[in-house]
């Protein structure tokens, strides 16, 4: 590791959770992600920003191999999670996704009760030895999703009956329940109203104490509010990556500056 590039020197190498090296993604003939190198730290919120179609969501979905479900998607290069290449043949995506959870753009609770929504992950991964154990996990997760107080009296009600903001926090609680190490969030607030957005952002900040959180957002203000690190994507390239404050105040690349000042995007 003696030929470290400048970008890598500024991060604390001991604390690196995910690192991507020369990552390329193709959708059929389209080259969607071009040669991306990035290092994501543990217990940090990293924001991916950029204009629509820049590849930020695609890259996020590469981090827990959600792109596997798309037939025409092809990935080259390597992405290391705790030093292991997640695209190694021996890696089971199921195990990977238990470790790298995901929250989606639109709240997508299952058509089950609130309790079953949260208990779904622990059940399939066998995290609870018995019903009491499961109850504890569900309560803990709902608390961590900052929704416990609102739903504790109606755990048997369908998850689809909650409001949009509540549904999204339920989905976060559901993701937390499998005890992942990394949480990926794909524009988690884009379908929510400002109040719900505030609640979710607050929650993201709290989650930072235990998880490495990667959030894709189209709102620069949101990136500035919740993240410590920011990566700016443009046309499939990672243009700039660094401390959030620095990116927003004195970006190095002219494209970043144009985007932040509203000239592109």
């Amino acid at each position: 590791m003696n030929d470290m590039r400048p970008l890598e020197r500024i991060v604390d190498t001991d604390n690196i959770k995910i690192s991507a090296k020369g990552c390329q993604v193709y959708y059929g003939d389209t080259h969607a992600i071009k040669d991306v190198d990035v290092q994501i730290e543990d217990k940090t919120v990293t924001a991916f920003i950029g204009p629509s179609g820049c590849g930020k969501s695609t890259f996020l979905r590469c981090l827990n191999r959600m792109n596997d479900t798309i037939d025409i998607c092809r990935i080259e290069g390597e992405i290391l999670l705790d030093g292991e290449n997640i695209y190694d043949k021996k890696v089971d995506p199921v195990q990977l996704r238990a470790k790298v959870g995901m929250v989606f753009q639109k709240p997508n609770p299952f058509p089950k009760s609130i309790y079953d929504n949260v208990a779904y992950g622990p059940r399939i991964h066998g995290l609870a030895k018995n019903k009491a154990d499961l109850d504890v996990i569900v309560e803990k997760s709902l608390r961590r999703g900052a929704i416990w107080d609102e739903v504790k009296d109606r755990l048997d009600a369908p998850g689809t009956g909650l409001s949009g903001g509540q549904q999204q926090r339920l989905c976060i609680a559901r993701a937390v329940a499998t005890e992942p190490e990394v949480l990926l969030m794909d524009e988690p607030c884009s379908a929510l109203d400002p109040i719900a957005t505030g609640q979710v952002e607050e929650l993201i900040d709290e989650l930072r104490s235990q998880y490495s959180v990667v959030i894709v957002t189209h709102s620069m203000q949101q990136a500035a509010r919740v993240s410590q690190k920011t990566a700016f994507f443009h046309l499939g390239n990672l243009v700039e990556f660094g401390e959030t404050g620095q990116i927003f105040t004195k970006p190095e690349d002219p494209r970043t500056e144009s985007y932040i000042s509203g000239k592109i995007g």
């Binding site: 827990n64 199921v94 996704r97 238990a98 995901m102 609770p109 299952f110 992950g121 991964h125």
Partner: protein
């Protein structure tokens, strides 16, 4: 005059009206179409519409109503003692109708001339002989009152025909004339024509309703007739089905219902797991290539006529099962036609029905739901079993109910594959029979339509219709509600 000729004449009147009215409209605008309210052809269409529509309507109403009126009038002339003697007025009127048709045929065949056929003093023994000679089927010797009634019926028919022809043609001419009078440059012919066309469209759409009404009425009247001569309590209460055309039949529906349900359950036990798993595989696992080959191949099974499945059951599956479970094998089966044979083949027929309906329904489950599950680290099968299928459950239940209604209403497979014996038994390798199979056998025999043995088919049909309709309405309701949920 034959109806076909009347139709052609009306069309001809309409065509003449078209040409004349169009010309008149053009003339009113100084032969410059720009001065007309509508395109010139619309004035022509208007004339055709005015001539043909009311005339055809009248024709149809007349054709339906006239026989009813005539029969009523003829029936009233029959002496009461003759009616009493002949068991029922319906039977007697059937005989009258037959004789009337027989006279027509005899005249047409040249066995007797028109004078003799309508001669009120004709000798009836001679008449019977002549009718028989003309190849007319007559159950008994023609009696004088019947002969007189038949002659009266013929006469009434002929005059009704004449008046109908006159009336219909007159209406057509009047319509065309009315249109022609109206053909002025400012007359809104297009709007009139479009309104007319619109009513025709409404009429076409209402045929669906008329069909249902027709089904219900034809089942209802004959069922009521059946219950008048055979007690409903026996029909719904008796556990034996043994029709005998000589009388003294026992017509209990339960053995037939049991056979129907037993076969349907076996069919669903075959079709639902196979169809459902096939749908799951095709929609969740299969690559595009596999799907584009396997899906149409499976759907071929749905396009094959049921008679083919019937033959397949009778000649291929039946003997195969007999070899395995018959005397040579396990000894449970007496003959190739059995509940198992019909159920198995019907199950094969229903596989694509279940699979393509379930496929649609599974595809309607939003991808976000699957993503949510994969994102938590669930395997594909866990996602399907615990997220997709529960979400699709109402729709799948609807699909299965529709398949059940298909199975209950299926005819040819059971007619050929299930056997003819009506019995209540638990052994699936025994021959049993179904509601549909008995409808066919009761109505294709030589039984008199007025006998309970033939009329029972309508009561069976009513039962079948009510059951399948109930299932369909319920299933379609569920499926519709399900679709709305994800729209």
């Amino acid at each position: 005059m034959p109806v076909l000729w009347i139709i052609l004449i009306v069309i001809a009147i309409g065509a003449v009206g078209y040409v004349a009215t169009r010309a008149r409209a053009m003339a009113s605008a100084g032969n410059d179409a720009r001065h007309l309210h509508s395109l010139p052809s619309y004035y022509g269409y208007m004339a055709f519409l005015f001539a043909a529509a009311p005339a055809f309507l009248l024709l149809i109403v007349w054709l339906i109503a006239a026989p009813l009126v005539i029969e009523k009038r003829v029936a009233a002339t029959l002496p009461a003692d003759v009616v009493e003697q002949a068991a029922s007025q319906n039977l007697l009127m059937a005989e009258v109708r037959r004789v009337a048709v027989g006279l027509d045929n005899a005249v047409a065949a040249g066995v007797m001339d028109e004078d003799l056929a309508s001669n009120a003093r004709a000798d009836f023994t001679d008449m019977t002989a002549r009718l028989k000679e003309a190849g007319q089927v007559i159950t008994q010797n023609v009696t004088t009152p019947v002969l007189r009634a038949a002659q009266m019926m013929r006469e009434a028919n002929a005059s009704s025909r004449l008046w109908m022809t006159i009336a219909v043609i007159a209406v057509a001419i009047a319509g065309a004339a009315l249109a022609m009078m109206r053909a002025q440059r400012d007359y809104r012919a297009r709007n009139v024509v479009e309104r007319g066309v619109r009513w025709m469209l409404v009429g076409a759409a209402s045929i669906a309703i008329l069909t249902t009404v027709g089904i219900v009425l034809s089942l209802l009247f004959n069922t009521i007739e059946f219950f008048r001569i055979y007690p409903a309590s026996e029909f719904f209460g008796s556990l034996t089905w043994s029709p005998s055309f000589g009388g003294g039949s026992e017509l209990g529906i339960w053995p037939l219902l049991w056979g129907t349900l037993y076969i349907s359950v076996i069919a669903l036990a075959v079709a639902v797991p196979i169809g459902l798993f096939a749908a799951i595989y095709l929609s969740e696992y299969a690559s595009n290539r596999v799907r584009s080959v396997a899906k149409p191949l499976l759907e071929i099974l749905a396009g094959i006529p049921t008679i083919v499945y019937g033959l397949f059951a009778l000649l291929t599956v039946g003997p195969l099962l007999l070899a395995a479970f018959g005397d040579g094998g396990l000894g449970w089966m007496q003959s190739g036609t059995a509940v198992m044979t019909a159920g198995l083949v019907m199950g094969i027929m229903l596989i694509p029905f279940v699979s393509s309906l379930s496929d649609d329904i599974i595809n309607a489950v939003p991808q976000a739901m699957r993503d949510g599950s994969y994102g938590l680290g669930a395997t594909q099968s866990e996602t399907i079993r615990q997220v997709v299928l529960p979400a699709a459950l109402p729709g799948i239940v609807g699909a299965v109910l529709l398949a059940a209604s298909r199975a209950i209403g299926e005819t040819m497979i059971v007619v050929l594959g299930a056997g003819a014996a009506a019995r209540l038994s638990l052994n699936p390798f025994e021959a049993m029979t179904t509601v549909t199979a008995k409808i066919v056998s009761q109505l294709t025999g030589d039984a008199d339509f007025a006998s309970p043995e033939a009329l029972v088919a309508f009561a069976l049909g009513m039962t079948l219709f009510v059951i399948t309709l109930g299932l369909n309405v319920f299933a379609l309701y569920i499926v519709r509600k399900y679709r709305e949920q994800y729209d």
